[in-house]
Symmetry: none
Subunit: 214 residues, 2 copies
């Protein structure tokens, strides 16, 4: 089921890390700042809701969608009470899950609200639209993800590792060669040609950094 779900979400343009257990999930979550978490309550190694309660107590703020076969009202209430942002009963439609996921993300509105900015650049989190002043700048999916990532930490260095994890998922240990560098290059070119006042600087051996042109 997880594989089918992963495929379905990938197909819809999202990046997915799949963990088969709570332990594995914690490992991923420590490494990557995921936008949301899908929590199957029927996991082998522990009670999903108890786990969620612990994470919430520990300061976890990422939105969580609980997946379960138990559809009773009481179960649903308990799930929401324990910190789930939405509660989805199996069997469910991939489209429905996708929609609910987007709804939660929209509600969360990103960490900063609706729009991120740097120089003449603005990025609308809701519509995932990039603007330079008034005119819309069209970027590919990956380019947009990269830009958003840099914008969220504008002025701060984003380690290359983090970029890799965010763009390609934490499971890309060996897979990617120099993809990050290529996308940085492409994004730089577009930002430059579009005359945004924003610039991506390289911090050798560490990562990249978005800022207004000097």
């Amino acid at each position: 089921m997880a594989e089918a779900l992963t495929a379905a979400l990938l197909q819809r343009g999202l990046t997915v890390d799949h963990a088969a257990s709570l332990d594995e999930a914690e490992a991923y979550m420590a490494a990557v700042d995921h936008a949301a978490i899908l929590l199957d309550l029927g996991l082998p190694d522990g009670d999903g809701l108890a786990w969620l309660r612990r994470r919430r107590a520990g300061g976890e703020t990422r939105p969580v969608l609980a997946l379960t076969a138990r559809g009773s009202v009481e179960a649903r209430v308990r799930g929401l009470h324990d910190g789930a942002d939405d509660y989805i009963v199996k069997p469910f439609d991939a489209d429905e899950l996708h929609a609910r996921l987007l709804a939660v993300l929209r509600r969360q509105g990103g960490y900063l609200g609706v729009s991120l900015t740097c120089a003449r650049l603005t990025f609308d989190v809701e519509t995932r639209t990039v603007r330079v002043g008034e005119t819309v700048l069209t970027l590919s999916t990956r380019e947009t993800e990269l830009l958003e990532l840099l914008l969220r930490r504008a002025g701060n260095v984003v380690p290359k590792r983090v970029v890799e994890d965010q763009l390609f998922g934490a499971g890309s240990d060996q897979g990617s060669r120099n993809a990050v560098e290529v996308y940085v290059h492409r994004l730089r070119k577009r930002l430059d040609e579009a005359g945004t006042g924003a610039r991506i600087e390289t911090v050798r051996g560490v990562g990249y950094l978005l800022r207004s042109a000097a």
Copy 2:
């Protein structure tokens, strides 16, 4: 309540500025680059969320944690939508607030790690980033290591022997010639050109010492 909260956070190793009103807060915020903002929505001189929305529109990117007595889901959603990074309902535990604060800072990237300072220099241990005031100063790996070493003992002499061991490993019995001197030279040059108020002094026959310019 604010006093108790201030005390609790101070006790946990954070530095806190307390403002009793939005006006006072703006004064502080103009003067200091705080790592995060705790916003009580029950302030006397205006709607906290409206204020937050205005600040976000004006380019405010610092993370904001909203504190409130209104615990309804709608209020929470509205808060997050208006640009809050987290939303905490009173009454809350000081530990929980602390944990959530750290989580937001970690997610924001940067500020969390203990930062070492000397004059206008700051070094973030977590991201290994060097700053002069606001601007990031890029150093090579070795230069960064050396600077960290000197910063950790700022004001005290660091024996040359110790520097060698730290930079090149204890197994560099005879191997390195005058590498330390070279790196001290390079670091001096960079610190000088960047206008940090920090200076590396030489203690003949012993080692080096970092301090604010005399």
